[in-house]
């Protein structure tokens, strides 16, 4: 029923577009000048047709269930039922009306089921009637307003403006919503776990929190030494550092090669090939790191007499670096290519060689963009999850030995939230606290990146 009505509104929208345009043509053919192109008249009418109808339609869909429920349950008021019992009665009513009720049928419930069904059908019919009459009224109003000197372009443009504004607002509001949910859960977490313990504690062992039976009262003392985030922050930055040690030199050098040295033919093939690296799903990188690189490093290390864990920070970081290469390479290539040719000419004309020109003129000029691409790479390294979960282990060791396993913020969030979780449990909230810290770190990185870029912009432009 809803689908039919919906389709009907859309179809009517198209039809009114057609009629609006036709009216415009009629006006045109009577040798009068239009104030806008004919299709604006069509859009104008279509908007008047569809938008009020959709607004009523969605408001109805939102409020109908509540109103029906109120009406059905009004029979039970003043009988001393509790809210929970009323809800149960209502659920029984609904399932009986669908013919799915299996328990004992009381006359009361049967009566309410009938009432429910009749209310629903009244609601459906009146919805259709109201929506259709709204369409007729608004289209008639708009159609009458169309004349040779009426304005249609401005309302249509304003409408588009509003649509685009709503779209951007939706994106912003989602972000704000995510941040707020992080904030509230994080605050709840820090009510149980002191901030100091979280920031400076050196033991991260959330499995300990599994032990608690949820019926027991919360006892903050049992969480001491459980949620110390130092090891996982250290692990995060350590693995990101290893990744950047791989990605920055290789990415930058390949970017410089592509931009300055490669012939157009080499560039034509090499650039897409490098960008393929960016298209590999991170889960593939993950098992490449866990099943190929990790064991290889372990064997190599063992043959040299070193003790290497199969899940090492080096394997995860190295593979993560490879994953980041295309971002840095491709972006720095773009940035270097966009340095004006006149600067290169100026430098060559002074007798500078290619490498001198790159080092002394092009690189400084491209620096803001290059720094931007590197910071983007760092953000990715810090936020990367899959590779670390698969290749670097889940135990949060506080270590700076690249051959041992360590864990990161993202991997720990995965550990915490896999399987059953209880809301309001410090263990679950710990994930929010970690997410919040991750968000803050990335935010700071972005602010620093913007500042760096701005500073060099001012200096060089």
């Amino acid at each position: 029923m809803n689908l039919i009505l919906f389709t009907f509104i859309v179809l009517l929208g198209f039809t009114s577009y057609y009629f609006g345009r036709r009216k415009a043509y009629t006006i045109q053919s009577s040798k009068k000048r239009l104030t806008a192109l004919p299709q604006f008249y069509g859009y104008y009418l279509a908007i008047w047709c569809a938008i009020p109808a959709f607004i009523i339609f969605s408001l109805w869909a939102i409020f109908e269930p509540t109103i029906v429920k109120l009406l059905v349950l009004s029979d039970y008021s003043n009988q001393g039922y509790l809210d929970d019992e009323l809800n149960l009665i209502y659920e029984k009513t609904k399932s009986l009306s669908r013919g799915q009720f299996t328990g004992e049928i009381t006359p009361f419930i049967e009566a309410s089921a009938e009432k429910y069904l009749s209310l629903r059908s009244i609601a459906q019919n009146s919805k259709a009637v109201i929506v259709l009459s709204i369409i007729i009224a608004s289209v008639a109003y708009a159609y009458k307003r169309i004349s040779s000197n009426s304005r249609t372009r401005e309302p249509v443009e304003k409408f588009l403006n509003a649509v685009l504004f709503t779209a951007s607002l939706a994106a912003i509001l989602t972000t704000v919503g995510i941040v707020f949910s992080l904030i509230f859960q994080t605050i709840d977490f820090f009510k149980v776990i002191p901030l100091f313990d979280f920031v400076f504690g050196t033991h991260w062992y959330p499995a300990k929190a599994f032990v608690r039976d949820s019926s027991e009262a919360l006892d903050p003392t049992m969480y001491s030494d459980t949620f110390g985030a130092v090891p996982i922050f250290a692990g995060t930055f350590f693995i990101a550092l290893i990744a950047m040690c791989v990605a920055i030199p290789i990415g930058l050098m390949s970017g410089i090669y592509l931009a300055e040295y490669a012939s157009s033919k080499v560039r034509q093939y090499a650039k897409p090939l490098i960008e393929i690296l960016a298209g590999i799903p991170t889960v593939v990188y993950g098992f490449f790191a866990a099943l190929t690189v990790g064991p290889f490093l372990k064997e190599l290390g063992t043959s040299m007499g070193l003790e290497v864990s199969a899940e090492s920070a080096l394997a995860a970081g190295g593979v993560m670096g490879i994953m980041i290469i295309p971002f840095i390479s491709s972006l720095s290539d773009d940035v270097i290519t966009s340095v004006p040719q006149s600067l290169r000419d100026g430098s060559y004309a002074m007798g500078a060689t290619k490498s001198e020109t790159i080092k002394r003129v092009i690189f400084p000029a491209a620096l803001p963009g290059i720094v931007g691409s590197i910071l983007l790479g760092v953000s990715r390294a810090i936020g990367e999850t899959m590779i670390v979960v698969m290749a670097s282990g889940l135990a949060a060791n506080l270590t700076f030995n690249p051959l041992e396993s360590t864990s990161t913020i993202t991997a720990q969030i995965v550990v915490i939230l896999i399987g059953d979780q209880a809301f309001g449990d410090p263990k679950t909230q710990a994930a929010f606290a970690l997410g919040m810290s991750l968000f803050l770190v990335t935010l700071c990185l972005n602010i620093v990146a913007l500042r760096v870029v701005k500073k060099y912009r001012e200096k060089y432009e």
């Binding site: 004309a349 002074m350 500078a352 002394r360 000029a365 200096k459």
Partner: protein, 258 residues
């Protein structure tokens, strides 16, 4: 400069052909450039005068599809020869471009760039001297002496172009090539640059490409007229402007085409 009344020839171009891919841009150019004189190259857009200018310091090497044939002798040495070291060549032949293109560095670093890459200064003091003399010669010192360590890109258009000239003369080149150096400047800045060119010719040989007849007449002693990739006529500026041999030259100079 005259030596025993005979003008010294600094650059001698013989049978120069230039191709961009399959398209020929210059046909059999032969031109002598006199030492310590200003030579103007004039002609309508696309006639090849800038291409010829870029042959003289092998800047056409930068363009992949460009090929240069023929001999260009500078101090009797063929720069198109394989044994020619482009880095040394460009140290001797400076260039100033159409649009001012200071490096995104400070005024000081813009000037010290050339001397640094050619290892011309042994100490900070020497470098300071080079920077100061170059800026003085480019008539820019008074304007920028208090802002040597501010970005060169922050100067006005005319100042930027003089900065580029100062940058070019910092390595004491024998020849300075100028590719429409005033086309992006206002009349006052143009007058300053023209005055400067007159001053610079005492120590350097100058070749200037220009679209302004008046400028060519004002600053140059010799003029070459290019048309459709050919050198139609060349000689003393006086003769070219007052009594040209070729009717095309006559037509171009009097503004009948171009």
């Amino acid at each position: 400069m005259k030596k025993n009344g005979i003008k010294m020839i600094k650059i001698k171009a013989k049978n120069v052909d230039v191709f961009y891919g399959k398209k020929q841009a210059l046909y059999n150019i032969g031109l002598d450039i006199e030492e310590n004189q200003v030579t103007a190259l004039i002609g309508p857009s696309g006639c090849g005068k800038s291409t010829f200018l870029r042959c003289l310091n092998r800047m056409n090497d930068v363009i992949d599809i460009c090929r240069v044939k023929g001999e260009i002798l500078i101090n009797d040495f063929n720069i198109n020869d394989k044994s020619c070291d482009v880095v040394r060549l460009r140290e001797k032949i400076g260039m100033v471009f159409q649009k001012p293109n200071p490096f995104p560095k400070t005024v000081y670093e813009n000037i010290s760039y050339g001397p640094t890459i050619h290892g011309m200064a042994q100490s900070k003091q020497e470098m300071d001297e080079i920077v100061e003399t170059s800026l003085k010669k480019a008539a820019l010192w008074e304007e920028v002496k208090d802002r040597l360590h501010e970005p060169g890109t922050g100067l006005s258009g005319g100042q930027q172009q003089r900065l580029c000239i100062a940058r070019a003369i910092s390595v004491r080149p024998e020849v300075i090539l100028m590719d429409e150096p005033c086309s992006a400047l206002d009349p006052i800045a143009t007058a300053q640059i023209e005055e400067l060119i007159d001053e610079l010719k005492k120590e350097h040989t100058i070749i200037i490409v220009t679209h302004s007849m008046a400028q060519a007449a004002r600053v140059s002693q010799n003029t070459g007229f290019f048309h459709l990739g050919q050198l139609i006529e060349h000689g003393s500026t006086d003769k070219i402007f007052k009594n040209p041999d070729n009717t095309k030259t006559q037509d171009y100079i009097t503004g009948r085409f171009g």
